[in-house]
């Protein structure tokens, strides 16, 4: 099948990013690791990305970090295109109610993003 060299390259970046997450050895501009949970048949697949102050800080990232961030951004774009609800939310502290905020554009500072599932009238 065509396009295999491209596939290998993506796999290497993915592997490098996973290794970096395990080691915690991030570039200077990285605030921490953010997580997108994609609701689907898997019952939420977590996808991680490097949190940065703004997309202007992209230049400070390594290839695999930029790849992970691009992937996260593409996911949000794809979710918007598919009319999937996207929320930025935090696990609530004791005594507090959940406070989800709809996400219209990808904010690379966000810690937890949920790509919720589609609903319809029944």
């Amino acid at each position: 099948m065509p396009g295999k060299s491209h596939i290998v390259s993506q796999q290497e970046l993915q592997k490098k990013w996973q290794e970096r997450c395990n080691s915690g050895n991030f570039s200077a501009g990285v605030l921490g690791v953010g997580t997108i949970r994609v609701f689907g048949r898997s019952g939420d697949t977590p996808v991680t990305f490097p949190r940065i102050e703004s997309l202007a800080a992209l230049d400070q990232l390594a290839d695999d970090e930029r790849w992970a961030l691009d992937t996260a951004q593409e996911m949000i774009t794809a979710a918007q295109a598919r009319q999937r609800p996207v929320m930025a939310t935090q696990p609530p502290r004791a005594g507090a109610a959940p406070n989800p905020t709809p996400m219209r554009t990808f904010d690379p500072k966000t810690e937890n993003i949920l790509i919720l599932s589609l609903t319809r009238g029944g």
Binding site: G40, G43, T71, E74, P98, P100, T119
Partner: protein, 344 residues
Amino acid sequence: MPRSLANGDYSLIMAIESASRANSWYRVLSDRQSGNISCDCPAWTFRQAGGGTRTCKHTQIAQLLLTAQNTAHPVMRARGAAAQANLLIQSTQQQWPGLGGRWSIEQRTAQIDGVPYQFVLLGLVTGNGTTATGTVAFTRRFHPTQESMIAGVAGWAGYALAAEVARTAGYALAGQPPQHFIVTRRAGARAGTQRPGLSDILRVGDQIDLGDHYTPAQRAENTLRLFLGTELYARLERQHFLDVSSALYASEQRVYRVRRDPHKQCERRVRVFERGRYVNDFCIVRGQDVPEADHWLTVFLQLISNEAEALSVVEEHNVFSPHSDDHYAREEETVPAIWQPRAA
């Protein structure tokens, strides 16, 4: 540029699920130049013997289905209004909103090497007369219900239709198809882990085995517990509902009672209270294949943060009178629904 389905060098005849691995897809493709039929499966990929036509069981069934030798048993066929009301067509339209025209659907059953399969054929005739078809073959034991076939039909058949419509409109590039099985000779490499294209990047959420030893339902339940917090989750477990005060209908003091099936299987209708009185049921169901906990959390978070969007799926015919889903085993409300002001 390498030749590929995404580049428009091939047309997708059928996506066919592996008999042994759920949601692992082989693509039966037709080369637009030569007309030759190929498949992604290992049998076709490694069958290099010269002479004769290179085939596998998938290309053979695809050819049978395309010809008068079609032996698959028809189980359902719909056109016109009946097709428009079909769940699989509605889901495909939702995923590919640009596809418009006269839709049709046909379902057939057949066995491939003794394994029962269900074939779903979508047809679309566009306003300018373009006829496009998309076929998906599901392994019956992995996809026994219509709901379980939604993602496969909308993803694969929708892609085939969109690619054909795009091609006849003069666009050679059809975009990235959904994730499919790839034979790889790299030691330790796993098939299908390439970065997916924009159109199917969200299918990352459809991989059942994430290597974490959890079932999809367990993962979804963990997410629900995490994002509700310990207290709210305990309350939900105890009373099987949580209330959300409306910001849009503050003057009616509307409260949504988002109920949960104690068995954590089915959707339950959202009870609507106004000024403390139970007035309606809203029926909001899953629009894609997700565990029940994911659906419940989606409805709950949307009603909190984006009420208008949450309600946008509720049309007149989705609104029912009270106790519409517990008419016989009537479940009376004992906890008052008390509206509390919220910012709109």
